[in-house]
């Protein structure tokens, strides 16, 4: 198949960008991310990862694909399977028909992942673009090159159990619209993202969630080792799980820049610069956390909590301005 692998910063936005581009609707990864209104923050203490709370910097898995397709008016077909055999058969059918297929998989069972990155995470996305003998040709957007995976490994990764179990999920783009009204959908996508960051009814979502986490850091109980683990976990969720580089803030800034060009709008360009500064602040926070954790004496939790509050307020200011703009333009 004539398919060009391209490396992306994040698996889900990378996959949908590649699928749409291949189908004839060229869409950059940041554009896909922004149109899905995918930037978020959530501190979810009831979901535990190795005893630590889930901290998310974007929407839950599958929402990027669904969100961007809905926004663009693209039809995408999702299929899950209760029977792994059937799931494998359907994948083979689609691949032999020359169709490009997106899959949700576990990271742990994919042999091409570096050993130290193989955690049990069930919502990784990749593209299958061919099969030779028993090996699938796979374009995994977070890797530099395309890879091959033996069918038994891929089947295992597709039907891994546990939280966010993929259940063999495969998806294909059915058709794309003839025209796209950028003037309309870009402000709408930004308005929706403002709502997620500023207007969530729960204190653990959006800007409120960042402030909440800041309070958690300030009041954290536990010995030095537990504090280190908790703080290290925050950095991991932000940098490793959330694509290095300040948990998606730079991708969103890149989206704002592209949107500014598409709409010929200087305001969005300014907002892109401001969002870049927000991302830089998040990076500075991660650095401060790790420096504190490496110290032998007491961790200064209060200063870290304050630093996180700076991130929250800087980001809140950007969203508030975007909200006013989107409301004006959307009229």
């Amino acid at each position: 198949m004539d398919f060009q692998h391209q490396q992306a910063a994040h698996c889900e936005s990378g996959v949908i960008s590649a699928l749409l581009t291949h189908k004839g609707l060229p869409l950059s990864e940041p554009m896909a991310f922004g149109l899905a209104s995918a930037l978020a923050f959530a501190y979810i203490p009831i979901v535990k990862l190795a005893g630590q709370p889930l901290i998310a910097y974007r929407l839950p898995p599958k929402y990027i694909i669904k969100g961007v397709c809905k926004r663009l008016g693209v039809n995408v077909r999702f299929r899950k399977f209760s029977n792994p055999m059937q799931g494998a058969e359907e994948l083979d059918k689609a691949v032999s028909a020359g169709r490009l297929v997106g899959l949700q998989t576990s990271v742990y069972y994919l042999p091409y992942f570096p050993e130290e990155m193989r955690f049990h995470f069930n919502a990784h996305n990749l593209i299958v673009y061919g099969k030779q003998g028993d090996d699938y040709a796979i374009s995994d957007p977070v890797f530099e090159e395309s890879v091959t995976v033996a069918s038994r490994h891929l089947n295992k990764a597709r039907f891994a159990k546990g939280a966010l179990a993929p259940k063999g999920l495969m998806y294909e783009i059915d058709n794309i619209p003839d025209t796209i009204n950028w003037q309309k959908i870009i402000p709408a996508a930004i308005a929706k993202n403002c709502k997620i960051m500023l207007g969530a009814p729960l204190p653990i979502i959006g800007i409120k969630g960042i402030r909440y986490l800041s309070k958690k850091i300030a009041n954290y109980r536990g010995d030095a080792r537990e504090q280190r683990l908790f703080l290290g976990h925050i950095v991991r969720m932000q940098e490793e799980i959330g694509t290095g580089g300040a948990g998606f803030r730079f991708i969103y800034a890149s989206f704002l820049e592209e949107a500014a060009q598409k709409l010929n709008n200087d305001f969005l360009k300014t907002m892109s610069d401001r969002m870049t500064a927000v991302g830089d602040e998040w990076r500075a926070f991660a650095l401060a956390v790790v420096q504190q954790c490496k110290k032998s004496e007491n961790i200064d939790r209060v200063s870290l909590a304050q630093h996180l509050l700076v991130c929250a307020e800087k980001e809140a200011a950007v969203w508030r301005e975007l909200k006013v703009w989107a409301a004006k333009v959307g009229k």
Binding site: A50, P114, E115, K161, A163, G232, V235, E239, A286, K294
Partner: protein
């Protein structure tokens, strides 16, 4: 973040791979830049990996003393904890906790053990002992 500020720390956790980040070029517009790693991220990842290794080592000691079954060791060695193993295997936590006891573990059927072995992605024979 500027293109030149993208860290290139050759993190061991990347195992020679490179990630893509979005950063600004000299003209001030965004583009993708490959990064070979960032010390900050590496430190956090290694801490997390280290935690599981610590738990696995502790479990191995307990297994040698006859206080725990190899199941506990393999769980941590596969970077799982009890809630995760329960989710992934579909076996209740209290049952798994029982299986951590050597006498109970010794009496388990191969069918049940195979479920654990499948989850850990190791052969059945390996599940029954500590690695050499």
């Amino acid at each position: 973040m500027l293109r030149d500020d993208v860290p290139q720390h050759k993190s061991s956790t990347y195992a020679g791979h490179k990630k893509v980040l979005y950063a600004k070029n000299a003209e001030g517009s965004y583009e993708t830049v490959q990064s070979s790693g960032w010390d900050v991220e590496e430190a956090a990842t290694l801490d997390a990996v280290e935690q599981y290794r610590l738990w696995a080592d502790e479990a191995a000691v307990a297994v040698r003393r006859g206080e725990a079954s190899p199941l506990m060791y393999h769980m941590y060695a596969c970077r799982m904890d009890l809630p995760l193993l329960s989710q992934v295997s579909g076996i209740w936590r209290w049952r798994i906790r029982r299986h951590f006891k050597p006498p109970v573990f010794a009496g388990l059927s191969d069918t049940l053990l195979q479920r654990y072995a499948d989850v850990f992605n190791i052969p059945l024979a390996e599940l029954k002992k500590l690695p050499d």
